[in-house]
């Protein structure tokens, strides 16, 4: 019996420890988002305020940057998914010329640091007038997200037994008709998962948005960064919470579609 008491004590200590290190950092930003005055060594702020939260709902730079990020993310989703669906089908079902080269090309962005590409993209866009322009960011996000939306959707197509398509062809449907009536409807959950993933990634992406957009275009993460650097921790915390909540919700929803190998790239 003494053994099991030990076990329970150990387990409780472990749970508390886990909660502290995993949830602790998030609790910190929640408290900061309400803090008006907070001097050391008080464990909680001396004065609370809703002022910084209200800024989100008032016209102003916080709301603007959030709306901007949503716009960029939605357009990125549209482009990325539209490009990814045919490409994913190609990878899943066709024999391709230079197949190995293509595979390597589409896997490469996950494997090499992205920063050099983003800064050179910024410089190229600069000469094309796309720097400080939301289309520049959208293009960069489409490119970077294409790699993982493509693999998520490819995996979805591959999980659909090829016989289901063969029956349709056998019954007289053309390849396009087969795709439209059989493959696509069956792949919708995976495609939605990919879309959500791209959306969340784009919403939280900093590096490309910073080099291509700043200082004229301030997406939510960029504003968060500048606020945080300017020791405006409250605004930064409010934006952080707004960006985190949808991620935590969707994590539960799309989890089963995601293989870790495909999503290594989020966060940047």
């Amino acid at each position: 019996m003494r053994f099991s008491i030990w076990r329970i004590t150990l387990k409780v200590i472990f749970v508390v420890f886990m909660l502290l290190i995993m949830i602790g950092p998030l609790v910190g930003i929640v408290i900061w988002s309400f803090a008006r005055v907070w001097y050391w060594p008080s464990p909680i702020p001396q004065e609370f305020t809703l002022r910084y939260w209200l800024e989100v709902f008032r016209q102003g730079r916080v709301l603007n940057s959030l709306m901007l990020s949503v716009t960029i993310a939605l357009l990125t989703v549209v482009f990325s998914i539209t490009l990814a669906i045919p490409a994913a089908y190609g990878f899943a079902r066709y024999k391709l010329p230079f197949e190995r080269v293509l595979l390597l090309l589409f896997l490469m962005p996950q494997t090499f640091p992205q920063l050099p590409v983003f800064i050179n993209l910024a410089s190229i866009f600069g000469r094309m007038g796309l720097r400080g322009n939301i289309w520049g960011i959208i293009l960069a996000h489409t490119m970077a997200s294409l790699v993982f939306s493509l693999w998520i959707i490819t995996a979805t197509f591959k999980s659909i037994p090829v016989e289901l398509e063969h029956v349709a062809q056998n019954l007289g449907a053309s390849r396009f008709k087969t795709f439209w009536t059989v493959t696509f409807p069956l792949a919708i959950p995976g495609i939605i998962a990919g879309a959500i993933y791209v959306f969340l990634w784009s919403m939280g992406e900093f590096t490309a948005a910073f080099f291509i957009g700043a200082p004229f275009i301030q997406t939510a993460p960029v504003l968060m960064y500048t606020s945080s650097m300017g020791y405006n921790l409250q605004i930064a915390s409010v934006i952080a919470i707004i960006l985190v909540i949808p991620s935590l919700i969707f994590m539960v929803l799309i989890e089963r579609f995601l293989k870790a190998e495909y999503i290594a790239g989020l966060g940047g």
């Binding site: 490009l83 990878f91 024999k95 197949e99 589409f106």
Partner: protein, 274 residues
Amino acid sequence: MEVRNRIVGFLLILPAFLILALLYVYPLIRAIWMSFIKDGFLSLANYAKAFDIYSRDILYSVVITSVTVGFVLVLSILLASYLRFKEWRFLDIMYRLPLFIPFLIVGHAMRIFLAPHGTLNSLLTRILKVEELPGFSRSWIGLLWTFVWVMTPYAALIILGAFRALDSSYIEAARNLGASKGKIVFTVIIPMCKPSIMVAAILTFVRTISSLTILVMIGPNTPNMITVDMMFRINFFNDWGVANALGVISYLIVIVLAVYYLRFMAAERGGIKG
């Protein structure tokens, strides 16, 4: 028909291919090319300068990254081994929490959490009944802590996935012969899941060494990692040559790992092709 098939397949991929060629491959080649250009001439001056100023940072990057990978592997293998044998919903949810949180926010949260007067210290000073504790943000300890915090879930997800995919009969056979769970992990599970563990290690390495956002939020001012140096070169000195040289150096650091990873993934995808 075979040829027609290939053409159709290629046409399906073409739009995505063009985007990638224009927006990824072209900047990549440009990065390499620009790193050899100094004042309009082909030279190695940028590399000389990069090594001159930043050799300490390059070493620092590699060391921090390697230590991160070590910690992440140990933690994620422990975690995956535990969860392979035992369902524990609490742990399952907890370890995955950082998965979807953008790095920038992780950096911000850790900055608040680990600061000298941050959330962690205000809790610890009360429990330990002391006046002051050192903060970890803006030091290598805080940086390492944050990297491990954010990278472990990915690695654990990959490794646990492989562990779970392993047929139970292998494990049952070992138990049947009298092996303890610990023994089974080391003699059966880890050797059989080696490729996935390698992939987890490689991805952790690449993502850590190419991370910028976490560093700008909580990294120490000096020494710094090469990504921050690249950012400074551009933002403060408008020096694209050295920035690109540093970029190419970061490519060279990961290239061996990248090749292994690409070969593994290409083989896997080739293998499951329908």
